[in-house]
């Protein structure tokens, strides 16, 4: 077999097996809205872990971590910094969110805002901001998938073909199995990703320099400034690092898909235990950094740093390794893309369409609508991903800054009795507007500080000030004692 045939076969086998698992995952369950969106709140520690790990390790961490190590150097360390801290925050916030969800049958993030603040317009605004932030994230997965499969198949499958096949498969398994599909496809994805990244991260520095330590020594001699902040950038220094780590740590569990995943857990205990273990899983990211730093020495000068790891792997390894990486990379894009589509469809159908235009709809009708939206959204995002050349990374940064604006409403809703609906409404609008203006006008970082972080500070200030000036929530809902 020719190298491209070997790589191609492996990619197809991996993607086909992963997708088959996704279709199978839901076949034994009747797909009500509750089952489709939150797996009937029945996920134990293992499925919950797979879901959390599956959602967080996306093509952005896969291509982006090596890409940042390659093109920016030291500032890439913020990725290793914010992930463990985000679980510290989740440890305190998500169990009460889960508790409220169990008491009131919540399925989505806007549901939570509706239960806390009793205002359907606030919930609809949360849904709109959530969907708008999710779409660039979804597009990044699709475009990343196209790039990975194209390089890994030695250019036999084009980007467009790869994206078309992947979207058909993932819309299919989301349509059939809902959130269960996402957890189950994560099984092969996580195993392959950890295997591939550890192998690559150890083998590549080993082959070119005789070991990770020697690679770093060579890098420290040749380019000492690349390894510390601001690395090969002009303005990503320490104040940027602190503000970005804080913003991202606050924001991670505020992504609608991660927030919603909370409701799949069987108990608050499941969530707490997962938050304790999850930081350790980040150690596998270190190996991806090794590959990116090696690429900086071996193949300098690439215009697109995100391609550095794949290019180096193609140059270094036999075809089967490339096929394995291509298949793993494709699943790494498909799992998050599937959960983005599922979440965006549910937000649109349940929290936007029904309350605003069709209040008489039943849950079953909402489930039908959401599944139709999955197919429509799959098609639309496919078309945008094929025909657009916009720089999505900046849109994703805007997305991160956007979803973090939910944080004050969530955390104050849980822990501060005096917070009011107008306060949260005003804070959310001000925060989103501030982040959008600063980022879209290329003022991120602003005075060396992450623009989204400044926006969330403004948001907090407005929530507190307006809440102090308005009356407290009528008939406030809050979780009773923690459900242990």
């Amino acid at each position: 077999m020719s190298p491209s045939a070997i790589a191609l076969t492996l990619i197809f086998v991996i993607v086909a097996c992963g997708s088959a698992l996704g279709f199978y995952a839901g076949t034994r369950h009747k797909m009500s809205l509750e089952q489709w969106t939150v797996g009937s709140r029945g996920f134990g520690p293992l499925l919950m872990w797979l879901l959390m790990a599956g959602e967080i390790y996306t093509t952005f961490s896969f291509l982006g971590a090596s890409g940042w190590a390659y093109s920016r150097g030291g500032p890439a360390l913020y990725i290793l910094g914010y992930l463990p801290l985000s679980y510290v925050i989740s440890f305190f916030i998500l169990p009460p969110v889960w508790e409220l969800g169990r008491q009131h049958g919540l399925q989505t993030q806007p549901d939570f805002f509706l239960a806390q603040y009793r205002n359907k317009y606030l919930a609809a605004l949360v849904a709109v901001v959530g969907v708008v932030c999710l779409i660039p994230y979804l597009l990044i997965q699709l475009i990343g998938l196209g790039i990975i499969v194209e390089i890994a198949s030695f250019d036999v499958i084009g980007r467009t073909q790869a994206m078309v096949i992947a979207v058909m498969l993932l819309s299919g398994f989301v349509f059939v199995s809902g959130i269960r599909a996402v957890a189950w496809v994560s099984v092969p994805k996580d195993i392959l990703m950890v295997l591939a990244s550890v192998t690559i991260g150890i083998a590549i520095p080993g082959i070119y320099f005789g070991g990770v330590g020697r690679m770093f020594s060579a890098l420290a001699r040749a380019h000492p400034t690349h390894l510390v902040m601001p690395g090969s950038t002009a303005n990503l220094g320490h104040s940027w690092y602190i503000s970005s780590v804080l913003l991202s740590a606050l924001g991670l569990s505020m992504w609608p898909q991660n927030f919603g995943a909370t409701f799949t857990a069987r108990s608050a205990e499941t969530i707490r235990r997962n938050c304790i273990v999850m930081p350790m899983y980040n150690l596998s990211l270190a190996f991806i950094f090794f590959a990116g730093f090696t690429a900086y020495l071996v193949i300098p000068g690439l215009a697109n740093g995100d391609l550095s790891m794949l290019t180096l792997v193609r140059k270094t390894f036999p075809a089967w390794m490339l096929g394995l990486l291509g298949g793993a990379g494709a699943l790494t894009a498909m799992v998050p893309a599937a959960v983005h589509i599922l979440t965006a469809s549910t937000l649109f159908s349940k929290n936007l369409w029904r309350p605003m235009f069709a209040p008489e709809m039943t849950d079953d009708q909402v489930a039908k609508l959401a599944r139709a939206v999955v197919v429509a959204l799959g098609l639309v995002s496919l078309i945008v991903a094929i025909y657009s050349s916009i720089t999505l990374v900046s849109l994703l940064l805007l997305g991160y800054a956007g979803v973090t604006q939910f944080f004050p409403g969530v955390v104050l809703g849980i822990f501060w009795k005096r917070v009011t609906m107008p306060g949260v409404f005003g804070g959310l609008i001000a925060g989103v507007a501030c982040a959008a203006v600063l980022i879209l006008s290329n003022h991120d970082p602003f005075q060396g500080i992450n623009a989204g972080f400044l926006a969330v500070c403004l948001n907090f200030a407005i929530v507190v000030l307006v809440s102090a000036a308005t009356r407290s929530r009528p008939g406030v809902l809050r979780p009773a004692a923690t459900g242990r």
Binding site: Y87, F91, F92, F216, L227, H238, I414, P479
Partner: protein, 67 residues
């Protein structure tokens, strides 16, 4: 909702100090540890230590709730 106890919050703040606020202290290449630049080693070590801190928080909180 029970608010977290003060000791739990203090332990939870340790990773924030180590990983985030103290960046200018540890963001350096030397001394290299285990072949890694110091900043890289520091963060990897704190990934493990963050799990340890959360486990301690968990013990503090579950001890409090069972009383």
């Amino acid at each position: 909702m029970n608010r977290p106890s003060l000791p739990a919050v203090v332990v939870a703040l340790i990773p924030f100090c180590a990983i985030c606020f103290s960046v200018s202290v540890w963001d350096r290449i030397y001394p290299m540890v285990l072949g890694l630049p110091f900043n890289f080693f520091w963060l990897l070590a704190w990934i493990v230590l963050t799990s340890v801190c959360l486990w301690i928080v968990y013990r503090i909180e579950s001890g409090r709730n069972s009383e």
